[in-house]
Amino acid sequence: MGNGLKKFTRSQLVIPLFSLLLLVVFNLIRDVEFFSVSIVTNNQGNRVLSGNLISILNGASAVAIISIGMTLITSSCKGQDISVAAVAAIAGSVFVSVLRSNEITVPVIILAFLFSCLVTVLFSTFNGILVAIFKIQPMIATLILFSAGRSIAYWINGGATPTVSSPLLSSIGGFIPGIPIPSPIIIMVMFLILISLVLRFTNLGLYTQVVGINEETAHLNGINPILIKLIAFMISGICVATAGCITVCRIGLINHETLLLDAEMDVILTVAIGGTALSGGKFNLYGSVIGAYIIQALTVTLYAMKVPSAAVKAYKAIVIIVIVMISSPVVKEFAINLYKKLFKKQVGTNIPMKAS
């Protein structure tokens, strides 16, 4: 029991879970009603769940999914992919362009999704080749698609921002008739299960971390670092496509300029809050997902407090500073020492505390 607690306090999940708990407690004190979930009837006439909790879980899905890929890239390549949001715009554009040239049916949607996956995996692999084979710093390598991505998305639909509407699409972006939980949440959960299975039944986790911590050791133990980095980028490509397509389904149109705008920074922050060092090495996918919910919960809390939307970012920044500070090793060490001192005083040791 005591040992389990010790193990837990050393795990990377402490800070994210603690931050999330803090947000929850803060909201409970502020307004008990904040977490109340009610059943309402929406525009399509479905009875669905509604409330802040649902909008947090729903709104964070896209960022949470992208953060899974970002975590793997961060861990293995010791850097971040800043082109994810721009590539998501490409994915969305490809998705819409396939949908618009066909009658929208379930197989067509699947085809459109697979097609946008293929395109994003190609773009991600391009990033991966620059990083893994040409050894370019990830942030510099992905700067290329960061700047060019939205222009490429612009060309795909000939510069227009077409809308797509179909009850099927709103089932994906909103609710499936008869199921009161928003579909993005369901997709996110499915994604998480899939990734857990991948981690459980392959050595992806071990290999990625070994490559991130010590590439030379990885090589000498028969792991191909280049391949592992490419795999990380490919998985990220699939994550990005999924997030892009969900977002298109939710808003019903593709706007290459605004789709998931600035999401890359949220994703990177999510990874950092989740307990993965941005300098690579040990990672925690679940931490990253929790990180996404923390950021979304923060945003929703601020809106609920009637903070003007233009000011939200400043408030977010303050809270993020606090979270990042408490996870800094300096603060951690200080906390441990403080705890030790207090604990020792209670026991009453005979160590002379001599001030010099």
Binding site: K7, R200, F201, T202, N203, L204, L206, Y207, Q209, V210, I213, N214, E216, T217, A218, H219, L220, N221, G222, I223, N224, G281, K282, I351, K354, A355, S356
Partner: protein
């Protein structure tokens, strides 16, 4: 006698999670004394020094320093404070700034920040360098000096800061013989000026050459303080290792004589070369044989075994395993053919520092088993547990990150990693470097034991004695070429030296 004491540490205790690093350790240093601190890795030498210099806070105990008015208790909270009190450290890695000049390095971080008098700084530096006989110019960039000179500059800096206690932490590891001699004469010079010197080293010869007193630690406990001239070597080693004297000497007498040249070699390479080892060489090893590559540092011995393991890109060569032609193009191929490779630089090429001991142990076998077939947690734990016990790896638990283990124990983890793959041919490049005498002996014993069990081993060590003791055949290298082989009676220190020097070997 009491007045002579510069530094006195009493009843020092220090614990880390799961380990008692120091238990009631006393240490006394007198004026003008060179006092060696000896012990195996993990004995507590570094911890004691870190407590003294304020890197770690002590759990309990007292430290007294002779400030001009006699012994006074001090409470050091940072290395900077220690330096101001007159306690300085010279490390094996240079901790100065290589891109600044010698003079700048001498005065950096001292006193007045706003105004720098460059001229007087240079003048003072030149004086000190001359006084201590250090072959460097004040205006020279530090990085252009040899490691030995850089170390001396660090020493000069400490001396100029009026240090009373100077700590040398493994200063000679990266120096050649002449440089060591120079360092020693500098140490004697300081000694005659009344500086108290603490000398930490793994090299027994050097310890005996220069030290007056020796304090021996083992497993965080004080074994004793002795006068060096009254202490026989064997006794010192046995105190450090806590093992019977006989144990050490029997190992030294043991010798492998059985030569199995008639059997099919387990591994055979013809015309092997790699990007890092451009001169093609032939090499073979038979079952249960222990052979070694020897030569000076940079002679290509490590590059050769790296080529065998395909650690560098292979450019040419034919390889046979048990008589059958095989292709070994990358480390994984070598692993799949039952070859294991313990690299020379443990920190750079061996350990995965942030991962646990368990993950470090199973790594190679896991890779051989395949990407889609991970070991279950229970299997991994069983493996780790088995090898932690088998090799006596000292670790708080199998989930401890490997970086918090001592060097010798890290090396054992890497050994465990390869033993777990059940190799038929194991390459050990400097497995005993930078680790304590006890673990060294254990590793040599292990090599002989494995060979008895039929594992072929290639062993590389900088210490020729170790190689003579364990190997039955030596391949001598010079300037990246194989210059000859020695076996049986011809394998003597003399012959090896002659061969390395490029002279004819005298038979008999």
């Amino acid at each position: 006698m009491q007045n002579n004491v510069v530094l006195s540490m009493r009843n020092i205790n220090k614990s880390f999670p799961g380990v008692r690093a120091l238990q009631n350790v006393d240490f006394t240093l007198r004026k003008g004394e060179i006092h060696a601190l000896m012990g195996e890795n993990g004995a507590g030498k570094s911890t004691l020094i870190k407590v003294l210099t304020g890197v770690y806070p002590k759990d309990s105990g007292q430290i007294f320093l002779n400030l001009n008015s006699g012994l006074k208790e001090i409470n050091v909270r940072s290395p900077y404070e220690a330096q101001n009190l007159g306690i300085s450290t010279v490390y094996q890695e240079i901790t100065l700034c290589p891109n600044l000049t010698v003079a700048e390095n001498m005065f950096i971080g001292r006193g007045n920040y706003s105004l720098v008098n460059w001229r007087s700084m240079k003048k003072k530096t030149a004086e000190i360098l001359k006084k201590l006989n250090i072959p460097a110019r004040a205006t020279q960039q530090l990085g252009t000096c040899s490691i030995a000179v850089q170390q001396m500059v660090a020493i000069a800096r400490a001396v100029d800061m009026d240090c009373k206690v100077l700590i040398f932490d493994e200063p000679t590891s990266s120096l050649d013989e002449q440089e060591v001699e120079k360092l020693f004469s500098l140490m004697r010079e300081l000694k005659s000026r009344g500086v108290g010197i603490i000398f930490i080293t793994h090299f027994l010869d050097q310890m005996y050459e220069i030290s007056d007193m020796v304090t021996v630690l083992r497993n965080g406990e004080l074994i004793g303080e002795y006068e060096v001239k009254d202490l026989p070597r064997v006794q010192l080693i046995s105190m450090m290792m806590g093992k019977d004297l006989e144990d050490v000497s029997t190992l030294q007498k043991r010798k492998i004589s059985d030569e199995k040249s008639d059997v099919l070699p387990i591994y055979e390479a013809v015309g092997l070369s790699s990007t890092n080892c451009p001169n093609a060489f032939d090499f073979k090893i038979s079952k249960g044989e222990v052979n070694g590559f020897t030569g000076l540092l940079g002679s290509g011995r490590s590059e050769s075994v790296r080529a065998v393991f395909a650690a560098d890109k292979i450019t040419d060569g034919r390889i046979k395993i048990n008589g059958a032609d095989v292709k070994i193009k990358k480390p994984k191929d070598a692993m799949m053919h039952g070859i294991g490779y313990l690299p020379e630089d443990r920190k750079r090429d061996g350990i995965v520092e942030d991962l646990s001991v368990r993950e470090n142990i199973i790594l190679a076998l896991q890779v051989m088993k395949g990407f889609f077939r991970p070991f279950s947690r229970a299997e991994a734990e069983a493996f780790a547990d088995e090898y932690i016990k088998l090799l006596g790896i000292k670790t708080a638990s199998m989930d401890t990150p490997i970086k918090s283990l001592s060097g010798g124990n890290q090396q054992k983890v890497i050994l465990a990693r390869w033993l777990l793959t059940n190799p038929q041919y194991l390459i050990l490049d400097e497995p005993t470097r930078g680790i304590d005498v006890g673990t060294k002996v254990e590793i040599q014993k292990l090599i002989l034991k494995l060979a008895e069990d039929g594992v072929s081993i290639t062993f590389i060590s900088s210490e020729i004695e170790e190689m003579l003791r364990t190997c039955s055949r030596l391949i001598v290298m010079r300037d990246r070429k194989v210059v000859g082989q020695l076996k049986g009676e011809d394998m003597t220190q003399d012959n090896i030296m002659h061969m390395i020097a490029g002279e004819a070997v005298q038979n008999g």
